[in-house]
């Protein structure tokens, strides 16, 4: 999979690059509008991560250009502006998702996964990992033929961990994924812990060949046995 990151903040771009390369994506970069525009016209990508606030032009214009040259790439907008207008305009112009800075790399990865999946396999919305089968449209998870009977939140946690498998996903990233800004940190970590405990129990009871590891209280990690 070929990904283009258009982002003018080089340290941030390098973080994204490093994280995504580890996921075995082929990552290319553009640090300004010119470069981005040039690469869009020249090459084909599976997905483009697009920062709207570029020093030499608006990312939204780039989005229009992209549409004009009929690229099939999925588009994930990254913006420092948490502004609804930009979000709506971006999605109207054909972007697939919208992420606000600051974001968790694991979240970016999960969203990217989602965008790519939607672009490539419109009909087949399932994920297979080890002996685990996840049906995205029906939101169910099975180990072999045993349904795990996950709650909504357990399913969301599992999905997030699966998207970032073998990586350490921070508690904050997971909590944010579940509750957004709704609950305060102290309590939500407790709740998260409870959900993960249940999820672990369900996985082990079904003899899943994956396991969720607790990484020193910082985060969680999904590993294949």
């Amino acid at each position: 999979m070929k990904i283009l990151i258009v982002e003018d903040e080089v340290p941030l771009l390098e973080s994204m690059e490093a994280y995504l390369k580890n996921e075995h994506y082929l990552v290319e970069r553009a640090t300004n509008y010119q470069e981005g525009s040039f690469k869009i016209h020249l090459y084909e990508y599976d997905c483009i991560l697009l920062d709207i606030g570029l020093p030499d032009g608006n990312g939204l214009t780039l989005l229009e250009e992209l549409k004009a040259c009929r690229q099939k790439a999925g588009i994930l907008i990254i913006s420092a502006k948490n502004s609804l207008d930009d979000k709506i305009t971006g999605l109207d112009l054909g972007a697939d998702d919208y992420l606000t800075k600051p974001f968790h790399l694991s979240e970016l990865n999960a969203r990217l996964d989602d965008v790519l999946r939607r672009k490539k396999f419109d009909t087949n919305t399932a994920i297979e990992i080890a002996n685990l089968h996840i049906d995205l449209s029906r939101r169910t998870a099975k180990v072999e033929e045993n349904n795990l009977n996950l709650t909504k939140k357990e399913f969301d946690i599992l999905l997030h961990l699966v998207a970032n498998k073998t990586r350490v996903v921070t508690k904050t990233s997971l909590a944010e994924n579940l509750w957004g800004d709704h609950v305060d940190q102290v309590d939500s970590f407790d709740f998260l812990f409870a959900h993960i405990k249940n999820l672990k129990k369900k996985l082990s009871e079904a003899n899943a060949s994956i396991e969720i590891h607790n990484v020193y209280g910082v985060g969680y990690q999904l590993v294949e046995l």
């Binding site: 903040e9 340290p11 941030l12 973080s15 994204m16 490093a18 994280y19 580890n22 420092a80 502006k81 948490n82 502004s83 609804l84 207008d85 606000t100 800075k101 600051p102 974001f103 968790h104 790399l105 694991s106 990586r167 350490v168 921070t170 508690k171 904050t172 990233s173 509750w179 957004g180 800004d181 709704h182 609950v183 305060d184 940190q185 102290v186 309590d187 939500s188 407790d190 709740f191 409870a194 990484v215 020193y216 209280g217 910082v218 985060g219």
Partner: protein
């Protein structure tokens, strides 16, 4: 008390004093004039009588009723000891016709005729003091009354016409809001003081608006600029976590992570606040309250379970507000979140909508801070709950842009938030 009433009062007091002093002065001056006049008449009469007596060498009969004087010889007085000066004095004379004493001025003087000393006393009626006092005590109070009426009427008129620019400016100042777009529009006036007042007020408010605008813009820009470094820190932390680390390092990274997260939430809350205040949420539509509240409540299921909270919702199906949906959600989320977070184990949360008012009520310990500080930025109940101290400030800002009213009360051990829309 109104300025004009105060000045009028002072003027009236001043008039009263002036008229009082004036009446005394007037009385004495008048009296002096009257005396001077009668004394002059008496002197002339004396000279006339003496010249007649000297010419005729005869003393007129002492009891002549046609005379206004009496002459009688001084028997036991020696010529050398005769008084040289004329003696003027007041006297009362009984007037049998109208049966009263009238005021007269008399001149007593002495002269000699053929070696015989005589005394002559001349009487002249004089303008009476009581008459003068009577006149004064009628005319001066009348003048005072006329002045009072004149002054009051004029000041009333003045306050309506001349003071108009002042009252207009005052009204505009009362209605002035620092975040309004337009400058003050004050009517033109020809009065120097009001002109200066208007200029000062316009300049002051204009400068405040400008400063406020800059400040708002600054907060927004600053928050915006902070996002990118925060994103970098957060991403680098996450990358670092992917490397093999020991427990101690993990604890440090976890702390850095939480602090970064907190900073980032604080920052986006500030950004949100300034965006609300900058009126950047303009799209309005009809928002149904019930589904929105129910959706928000799902985020607090764990909280309700953990603290065994009884959650009651009583919202009519058609209850709706006309506003920006994002703002409505933020407002409800913040209020509902508080109702859950500041609760007690086994407590309750009640959300009702009636009479165009959203009631959000929850059991809880009384506030530790004065209620009026609740809606201020960074005034929080306690540090243990992990809140940012911006939730209610955001609620207030949302209410302000929507012209809604938000109220807090504590009754029967429960906190109540009322939003009237």
């Amino acid at each position: 008390m109104k300025l004009l009433t105060v000045t009028t009062r002072y003027y009236l007091l001043l008039f009263f004093l002036i008229l009082g002093v004036w009446s005394l002065v007037f009385y004495f001056v008048l009296k002096g004039q009257v005396y001077q006049n009668s004394d002059e008449v008496l002197l002339n009469r004396k000279n006339q009588i003496l010249s007649i007596v000297r010419r005729t060498r005869q003393i007129p009969a002492p009891d002549d009723p046609y005379n206004d004087f009496v002459i009688h010889p001084l028997t036991r007085t020696r010529i050398s000891s005769l008084p040289r000066n004329d003696q003027y004095s007041d006297t009362l004379i009984y007037e049998p016709t109208d049966q009263e004493f009238d005021e007269y001025r008399k001149l007593k003087t002495a002269f000699t005729l053929q070696g015989q000393p005589y005394e002559v006393v001349i009487f002249k009626p004089r303008l009476e003091s009581t008459e003068m006092i009577n006149t004064l005590s009628i005319t001066l109070p009348l003048l005072y009354v006329v002045l009072v009426i004149g002054l009051v009427v004029t000041s009333r008129k003045l306050s309506k016409s001349i003071w108009q620019p002042f009252y207009t400016a005052l009204l505009q100042l009362q209605q002035f809001r620092i975040d309004q777009e337009s400058p003050l529009a004050l009517p033109a006036t020809s009065i120097e003081e009001f002109k200066e007042l208007q200029e000062s007020v316009t300049e002051l408010t204009g400068r405040s608006q400008e400063m406020y605008g800059q400040q708002k813009q600054f907060i927004e820009n600053a928050s915006h600029e902070i996002q990118t470094p925060l994103a970098i820190i957060q991403s680098k932390l996450e990358l670092l976590l992917q490397h093999p680390i020991n427990e101690q390092q993990a604890a440090i990274l976890s702390d850095i992570g939480s602090a970064t997260e907190r900073l980032s939430k604080l920052n986006s809350a500030l950004l949100l606040l300034s965006k609300i205040e900058n009126n950047q949420f303009t799209d309005r539509t009809s928002v149904l309250l019930k589904p929105m509240v129910e959706q928000i409540l799902t985020y607090f299921e764990e909280q309700a379970e953990k603290y065994q909270l009884l959650v009651k919702v009583d919202i009519p199906e058609d209850a709706h507000v006309h506003t920006n949906p994002a703002l409505a959600e933020i407002l409800l989320t913040n209020l509902i979140k508080n109702a859950f977070v500041h609760n007690i184990t086994g407590g309750r949360v009640q959300i009702r909508v009636m009479n165009r008012t959203i009631h959000i009520e929850n059991s809880g310990e009384p506030l530790e801070v004065p209620a009026y500080t609740l809606f201020k930025r960074f005034h929080k109940q306690s540090n243990t709950k992990g809140g940012l101290g911006l939730g209610l400030a955001i609620v207030k800002a949302i209410c302000q842009v929507n012209k809604w009213k938000v109220q807090y009360t504590y009754q029967n051990k429960s906190h109540q938030m009322l939003v009237s829309y």
